[in-house]
Symmetry: C2
Amino acid sequence: MRLVVIGAQAAGLAAASEARRVDPGLEILVLEKGSRISYGACGLPYVVEGQVQSFDQLRVYTPEYFARERRIAIRTGAAVTAIAHPRREVVLGSGERVPYDKLILTLGTRRKLPDAPNVFAMDSWEQVEQLRAELASGRPRRAAVIGAGYVGLEAAGALRTQGLAVSVYESSADVLQRADPWLTQAVTAHLERFGIAVHRHWRGDLPEAGLIVYAAGLLPQTALAADAGVALGATGAIAVTSRGETNLGGVYAAGDCAEVRHRITGRAVWMPLGTTARKTGQIAGGAAAGARAEFGGIVGTSIVRVCGLSVATTGFSPAQARQEGLQPVGVEIRAPDKAAYFGGRPLAVQLVADRKSGHLIGGAIVGEQGVHGRINVLATALTAGMTPEDLAQLDLAYAPADSTVTGPLQIAARQLAKLLH
Amino acid sequence: MRLVVIGAQAAGLAAASEARRVDPGLEILVLEKGSRISYGACGLPYVVEGQVQSFDQLRVYTPEYFARERRIAIRTGAAVTAIAHPRREVVLGSGERVPYDKLILTLGTRRKLPDAPNVFAMDSWEQVEQLRAELASGRPRRAAVIGAGYVGLEAAGALRTQGLAVSVYESSADVLQRADPWLTQAVTAHLERFGIAVHRHWRGDLPEAGLIVYAAGLLPQTALAADAGVALGATGAIAVTSRGETNLGGVYAAGDCAEVRHRITGRAVWMPLGTTARKTGQIAGGAAAGARAEFGGIVGTSIVRVCGLSVATTGFSPAQARQEGLQPVGVEIRAPDKAAYFGGRPLAVQLVADRKSGHLIGGAIVGEQGVHGRINVLATALTAGMTPEDLAQLDLAYAPADSTVTGPLQIAARQLAKLLH
């Protein structure tokens, strides 16, 4: 019995590892078109910023590690050009055919870059190396960042830290792909204090700038799958079951190329993130090897740090909730994360509940410190279907070095509970 | 209709404020035996350490604020000596009788201090002022701390920071009132690196030391209530309903003098903490004014910071779980809180589930940073009745500045999920 995994990044390696754990006897082969596996792509903006110096700092494991410790064979430089599912074979660029019994697709994303010499992306080590070389030349003085998603914002912060004049261009009305004027205002005001202009509703030609970082237009990589008859969902990503299986029996998909279920609406969504890639990879790998685990879905949690500000979201903003047919009731408060004598700083907290069900359905937290833990408490609470009153009553830890007695999240929850009554 | 509240600290002021919110027409009088209200008692160890300089930094509100903004009358220096419930009157030390329709008892704790001139507690501003004066004299070179609960450990850290030789004496086998050899080992090893010796299983006379901080033997303050016929529970604290009502109709109790329900076992426990005091005060105040809210209970979450180490617990340790008749299955792991290139430091994580129900029932986290948010995620997960698999699948936020991709909590949850299968 042979499992072939296409792709050796977060989802592919998680899939292979879980398959090995479930079935010690399985033959496992991972095919990776690039030369490197398993690097921490989320650390790439910090290479530009200079906080990370070398690829080795981002590398987690080597092919040798997988061969030795997990009996997983990884072939790098192995580009798959076709899947012949009726014959249970994948075809490599060299013409070689590799048979499989079970197949897992972790194809990642693609981005169509404008064809101009000064345009860079931040999606791979190679691209970031080129960007670093251009920065080191000292030529670019002005940078334009296309796209105000989290990669774009991180890139903008990193380039500003390097001393460039930076402008961000976003086609929609809001940042971070979240219809939320409150959040957009908080983020853009902060960036403007650091001298980064954010142009929204942007249309037209590429701006004039010595350096352009293109962080827009991300799409799921699906051509190989679609050509083989794998069905895509309405989002354009690969449709999968809760066990990661596609419409083709024995063919699974995971990570950034696949849809996931949103826990709040039950609907299939496409929200590519490394955390989800690991989890869905693990589920698909287990399923391909015979395990019965299912993925419960996501709630859409993310955090980004830019110019010293952490911006975190989970669930839906009020506007997003309305688009989903929910009846959002929200509060927005400001409160310090801890006492002033312990270096407390203000946190802005948004909480959203659904009037009909009474459940928490989203929120956002913005501030210099204390954001990560709090957004995760909120993500946990809304996954559990808690109400604002439930959140306000939670027995959370307090010490003066960490929080105020009630804390910003529970202050907001208390206010929202009152609004719902 | 007049509400009288006895005690103007966390629970009493929360009760009065919520009663005012629920019933704008209520007459509200708060009687406080001391001269100060509403100070942050949890900040007192930091006064000893020198991080907090004055009382004003801990003070939250004044009586004038409550009178002006909330129409709540507060009388300080008003010691209640008896409650004549059949007549609906409280009796003050002066002999004055104050009538009430509803009564809320927030009596706090008491501690029987050994009668020796060099013994101090950390329970009030006055005691801490005396301790500071003694420290300022330069006489004490060696300090002994009696009790390794969180007040004792904070005091030990503060005194060590002031340059004294410090030993801690604890009568039980473990620190932080938690039967848990794993946690005790982690904490004592850290303290010993800072030159603080921890003597457990301690019995006998007070140790020889220039200065003794007594942080043991805390009890609920109940005499006034018991004398009036208010029933105490098996823990020795005042027994209350989920709305904070005692056995006497119209008499409520909240904060450190009252029992609370433990969410995991459903049993009444006594765990005095400022966070719980605020919540139970609010419930009792609302109930006395006619609201219907109920308190769901606690899970026993706390955090303490000592010598740069944060030590946080929630739910039960394996030994405690066995005492409660549960069937604990636990894991203990070490993993960095974030990438080394972002200043990551090791975290020690313990997770405990119940084999029978499959639910998470406890855990502990120890480390220099990233502890507070993670213990709160765990507290939220176990309040929701999540399993380790549920915790491992949670959609938590990731950025390199905040965490590793999977994070220590979910690494531990994954391992525990495997043990349960």
